[in-house]
Symmetry: D3
Subunit: 164 residues, 6 copies
C-alpha cells in the first residue's frame, strides 16, 4: 500500500487490484442514494397517471440492478464479487426522483461500489427515459449512505437534506 | 410514440427501442460534466504531489472512456453506436474534481447518454480510487452541457456554478 | 463457402465469420416469435390483476431488447450490427404467453438472429420470473416469422397455429 | 416476497434480486433440454458426412457453454454464480437435433436458468449455422429436466416425448 | 495529438480516444499471426489422430473470432467497429502451431488491433486446451503481417522465420 | 476425461467445461510474463521523458488488470473465478518492455489463464499505444512463470533469457 492511503496505487503510484486474499469472508451490506432533479411535470410523467405508465421507473430499477452485477467490469480496480441481494427503489422527492440501492454479499471486500453503481446507472436510465421531455435534468448527490461488515468498520451517513 | 412525449414507451406504456431507421446519418457531438465533491486533502492526494501519483486521474479517465463504449449495454433502450471520439478531462475545481466528457459519432441518434455515462463512471472510479481516505465524497451535478447534430436541434446549458 | 451450403464453415469445415464486405448496406427487418406454455393460473399472475403486477412482463420485454443488442457476443459467427429498432411484445395466447420481436437495421447482413435472440431471452426471463410458481413451463415454437431486405430475398412464415 | 409467489417482484410489484444471503452454500445441479426441428437433409449436413464437418455441432456446444457463464448478464434478476461444471450435448433425434445441458455449482441458489440459457443459445447457434440451407427450422420444447440441491427440493421432469 | 507521435495521448500525456470523425469510411483489412511453441507430442494431440479430436483447434478458432468482436472492450482506446469478416486459421509449423487471422471492415479506422487480438486469444485458448499435457508452452512472435486501406498507407511485414 | 490427457475434451472429443466441484477451495497463485520487442526510441517514448508521459504504461497495466477479470468470457472453457488480487508490472528490458502479471484466488481451480490473459492484453495495449510510431513491434515469449496451490502441484519456469 502506498504511504498516502491510496490503496489502489502501489508504492510507485501504479494502479493495482489490492490483495484481499487474507481477509475473512463475511456478510457485507452497502446502501447508497442519488437524486435526479427534474421539473414537477417531468416527474408526473415518470410516475404515470395511468396504471401502465410506471414503466420508466421499472426500466430504471432493472438497469440499476443489472449494472450492480457488472460493477467489476466498469470500475477498473474493483474485485469481482458474487452478490446475494440487489434492491433498487425509486421514489418521488421534492426535487424530482430519489434512487436508493441496497447491495449484500458474502465476500472478502465491501460492496460500496456496487451500490453506488446501481444508483448511478438507474439515474442515467431515468434521464434517458425522460430526456425527450426535459434535457436539463441533473443527477446530483450520489453518495454512500451506509456500509457494514468487514474490518474497516461500519459507516453511516445522514440522509441527504434535499431528498426528504 | 406515446402521447405524453416519453418516446421510450409505446402507447401501452411498454418500453421499446425507438425506430431511428428513418433518420439521417449525421455528425453528432455531446458534452457533459460532473463533480466529485471532496476534502481539499483528498483532492491533493488525487492530483499527486509527485510525478507518478496522477494515476488515480488517469485510471478514472480510462474508466470513463471505456464506459462510453458500453453505454448501450448499460442503458436498456439506448441504440448501439459507433463512436468516433471520446475525450474525458478531470480538473480541479473549488469543491473537488470536475469531470468533463465529449463524445462524437456519425450516426442516426445522439450521444448524450454516452457523454453522461462517461462522466458518471469516471466519477465512480474517482470515488473508488479515493474512498480509502474519504468515504463521504459526493458525486453531484452530473448534467448535459451541450449537444449538436440531429433533427431535434442543438442544446446548450450554462456551465455549472459550483464547478468554476 | 463450403460446397454443401453451410456458409459458416469454410471448405475444410472450420468455422469462419463470412465476408459481407461486398454486400450493399440496405434496410433489413426480421420478426420472430416464441411461446412459453404455462398453466392458466401462472399466466394470470404474470399479467397481474392489479396495475403494478405487470412488471414480470416489462422485465422480460427489457431482457429481450437488451439481448438483441448482444447477439454478436452470444452467437459465435454473427456479425456485430448497429440496430435501428428493437421491439418486443408479450401477449396472452391459448397456451400461455406469446413473445414477438421485430428488429431493424441498416447494414450488410440480416437481423434474423437478433430477432430470435430477443425472443429466446424474453422467454427465458418469463420462465425465471414465474418459476417460483410453476417449474414445468416449456418454451416452444421459437421461429422466424419474416425477414426482408438483402440479396437472398424476403421470407415469410405462417403464424404459429398454437399461439392464436 | 410478494403474496402471490412471484419472488422476483416485491410487495409493490417492482422487480428485485431476491436475498439469498441466508441460504446455505450447497452443491446444486440442473439439467435442461431443447430440440431444433429440421429437415432430415439439414440434420445430415449438421452432423457431417466427413470427419471435419461436425464443426457446426462443436460451435453450438461452445456457444451454449459460454452463454451459461453469462446467464446473470442476460436474465435481469439472476444472481451471478461461480459454475463448477457446464456440459452441453447435441445428439440427433427424430425431429432434428436435441440439445441437453448439465450445470453444477456450489452456491446459494440454483442453476436452472444457467442450464436453460445454455440450451437456448446452443439451439440459436444451430439455427445460425444451418439457416443458409433451411429457414423454417423451429426451436421447441426447451424445458428443465431436473434440479437438485437447495431448500426447495429436487425436481424431475419426464423426458420429452418428441425428442426420443 | 502529442508532439512525440503517441496519438493515444493528448498534449498533457493523458489518454484519449482519438477523433476519427474526419476520416473517410473505406475498406480496410489487416492480417496478423502468432505461434504457440510446443512439443511435437502436444501438437500431435492438438491436431488429433482421429476425426473428432480436432476440436481443440476448432475451439481456439472460435475463441479468436469472438475475441476480435470484443477488441474495443479489451483495448481501452480502440474505436468500436463493425467487422465484415473475421477468419482465423491454425496450422502446424515447425515449432508447434501457427495462428493466422484476417479481419476486414468498412470503417474510419483500421483493424490491426482486431487481427492481433484474434491471434492472441486463439493462442491463449490453445494453451488452455493443451496445458494439461504441457505447461511450458510459449506464445511467441505475435505480430502484424499486413494492413491495407486508410490514409496512413499499406503495411506489409515479411512472414516470421520461425513459423515456416 | 479423455484418454489422451486433453481434459477440456470429453471421450468423444467434444469440448466441455470440466467438473471441479469435487476439488477443495484453496489459495492459488499464478505468475506469467511477456515481452513486447520494440526499437529503443519507441521504448523511450513509452516510458516518457517527462512526468506525465508514463500514461501509455498505466493504460496498459489497467487493460491487463481488467482483462484478467474477463478471462472466463474470452477463453471458452475457463471457469469463472473470483480474483483476490491482480498485479501487472511493466518494466524496460533489453528488447523493449517486459510485462509481468500475478493473479491470486481462493477457488477450486487455478489462475494460469488469468495471468496469461492479463499479460497478453497488456502487451496488445502497449502495441496499440505505440503503433503510431512503430508498426513492426512483436509480442513474444508470453509464458507461465509459476503456479502454486491445487492438487496438481506447483510449477515454476526459469525467467526468460531474453527479458533480462
Amino acid at each position: 500500500m502506498s504511504e498516502d492511503g491510496l490503496t489502489h496505487l502501489d508504492s510507485d503510484g501504479r494502479p493495482q487490484m489490492v490483495d484481499v486474499s487474507g481477509k475473512d469472508v463475511s456478510a457485507r451490506t452497502a446502501t447508497a442514494e442519488g437524486v435526479v432533479r427534474m421539473a414537477a411535470e417531468t416527474r408526473r410523467l415518470a410516475l404515470g397517471g395511468s396504471s401502465k405508465k410506471g414503466d420508466a421507473i421499472t426500466t430504471s430499477i432493472l438497469a440499476g440492478i443489472m449494472a450492480a452485477k457488472r460493477t467489476a467490469e466498469l470500475i477498473p480496480l474493483c474485485h469481482p464479487l458474487p452478490l446475494s441481494r440487489v434492491n433498487v427503489d425509486i421514489t418521488p422527492c421534492e426535487d424530482g426522483l430519489r434512487v436508493a440501492a441496497e447491495v449484500r454479499t458474502s465476500g472478502q471486500t465491501g460492496v460500496e461500489m456496487e451500490a453506488l453503481t446501481a444508483v448511478s446507472v438507474a439515474c442515467l436510465t431515468l434521464y434517458d427515459m425522460l430526456k425527450a421531455v426535459q434535457k436539463d435534468m441533473e443527477i446530483f448527490s450520489i453518495r454512500l449512505l451506509s456500509k457494514s461488515g468487514g474490518v474497516s468498520g461500519d459507516y453511516s451517513a445522514s440522509p441527504a437534506e434535499d431528498s426528504a
